[in-house]
């Protein structure tokens, strides 16, 4: 399915790198490395240079922590989005927020996509996306409250739950007026899930792809990778790329990542093996 994220159109077989840019002092991976606006801007410039098609700007870390109200969240991201929009007119700007109020402000500042990582916690977010012609990422959290960790969560079938909830969300977004080609679904690894849930979603991601909605995966350095290999944050790249390979083989379209270059190479290699992408340059044995 063709993706059109506001003014940017991507071919049916295109895979996209969505680079994480945190305007937070406390996110789990970078631990505030891009908290300062200029550092965040340098990160945007770097990932754009590395070939990321999308940046995903977030003003609140996902884990529990100090309460960040909408005003504070907007102060972290709105002007920054405007700055990125001006400097990188071709870059797709996504903002990681569950709040409609924040979504409205960032779209007015130039954001193209709202990444609702908390799965419709604010039901008015789809109306904001529709009003601005923005795209939306419809995630599955199993109904988790924003910024909470899973505690003894269980599903009869986590994949069925993820498909049912994200497709319902996508249809709700469509009904609200969000363009069909700007709607993406995301199983949201680790959100409202234990490691076994995230592994099963990875293993059966093809079932989500079969819905026909473009699938985004956010696997980068997450706890399910860490627990699978018993590795701390900072040592999870290989595990992340292995999970990325499985997702790519299943047909995921968008990859929300910390490491753009490594993920792009992994996804391209898998798609070349799968016969969906030509080798970059082949001459061996053909001279």
């Amino acid at each position: 399915m063709t993706l059109r994220l506001r003014t940017n159109e991507f071919a049916d077989d295109a895979t996209l790198m969505m680079a994480i840019v945190n305007r937070t002092p406390d996110s789990f991976y970078d631990k505030g490395a891009t908290w300062a606006e200029d550092k965040a801007f340098e990160r945007v410039a770097l990932v754009a240079e590395q070939g990321a098609e999308i940046v995903d700007i977030g003003g609140i870390k996902a884990a529990p922590g100090v309460e960040i109200d909408a005003a504070e969240e907007k102060s972290r991201v709105v002007d920054f989005v405007a700055r990125v929009r001006e400097a990188f007119p071709q870059l797709v700007i996504s903002v990681d927020t569950w709040r409609a109020e924040v979504g409205d402000a960032v779209c007015a500042a130039g954001a193209d996509v709202l990444n609702d990582a908390w799965g419709g916690a604010d039901p008015e977010l789809v109306d904001v996306a529709a009003a601005h012609g923005a795209g939306i990422i419809c995630t599955h959290t199993g109904g988790a409250t924003p910024r909470t960790r899973p505690y003894r969560v269980e599903y009869d079938d986590v994949v069925r739950s993820a498909i049912d909830d994200t497709v319902a969300y996508a249809e709700r977004a469509l009904a609200a007026g969000v363009p069909r080609d700007g709607i993406v679904i995301d199983p949201a690894h680790d959100f409202g899930k234990n490691t076994f849930h995230s592994l099963e979603l990875t293993r059966r991601l093809g079932e989500m792809v079969e819905t026909g909605w473009p699938v985004l995966v956010s696997l980068s350095n997450k706890d399910f990778v860490g627990e699978s290999l018993d590795l701390p944050v900072g040592e999870r790249l290989v595990g992340t790329l292995a999970a990325t390979s499985v997702a790519a083989l299943a047909g995921a379209r968008i990859y929300r990542v910390h490491e753009v270059v490594e993920t792009r190479l992994t996804v391209d290699m898998v798609n070349v093996i799968a016969g969906r992408l030509l080798p970059k340059r082949a001459i061996r044995g053909l001279q």
């Binding site: 030509l278 082949a282 044995g285 053909l286 001279q287």
Partner: protein, 188 residues
């Protein structure tokens, strides 16, 4: 009896020219461009001369050139081995009814350490000699040495049976992957 030759083109038989081996970047872009331009110059009634793989390469290039130059009715046939067969009639030749030939062949495949056959110090001189004779329109080479140097000369050997070709126009002359490629044209 062989009809008077109108136009002849030589291209190499590299499989990288086949669409089934295409990548996102073309490793033989310059060669391909030269070959397609020369083939377009041949006109619409073309016979391919070369070994089995060369015939496949020639047919693919003819098809690509037909698309890019909107030449209708291009057709090809491989030689039966004794010498190039003439056009079997029905098609219109470039001028005067003389057939056009696309000859597929190349020099040695041992020009460098990374070449398919690795480096052979005799390869450069072999290619220089063969290239000079091709430029003069009368190919000459040591068939035994050609085999040792992995040169694809089946089609080139048949060039001689086309008569006096005259001096060639050389569109491409290089060995980018340790294999000697030429694109040459003969005729009016």
């Amino acid at each position: 009896m062989t009809a008077a030759v109108n136009r002849v083109v030589l291209v190499p038989g590299t499989l990288a020219l086949l669409p089934e081996y295409a990548g996102r970047e073309d490793p033989v872009a310059e060669l391909r461009a030269a070959a397609l331009a020369a083939i377009a110059w041949l006109g619409p009634d073309v016979q391919v001369v070369g070994d089995e793989q060369g015939a496949r390469v020639g047919a693919a290039l003819l098809e690509a050139a037909a698309v890019s130059t909107t030449l209708a009715g291009a057709r090809c046939s491989t030689s039966d081995g004794g010498g190039p067969s003439t056009s079997d009639g029905g098609g219109s030749s470039t001028s005067g009814g003389a057939p056009a030939y696309l000859v597929v062949g190349n020099g040695s495949a041992k020009r460098t350490e990374k070449a398919p056959g690795a480096f052979d110090e005799r390869a450069e001189a072999f290619d220089a000699g063969l290239g000079a004779s091709l430029r003069a329109g009368w190919p000459e080479f040591d068939a035994r040495l050609a085999e040792q140097l992995w040169a694809s000369v089946e089609g080139i050997a048949r060039l001689g049976s086309l008569g006096d070709l005259g001096e060639a126009q050389v569109d491409y002359d290089d060995a980018p992957y340790g294999v000697q490629y030429w694109v040459m044209r003969w005729g009016a």
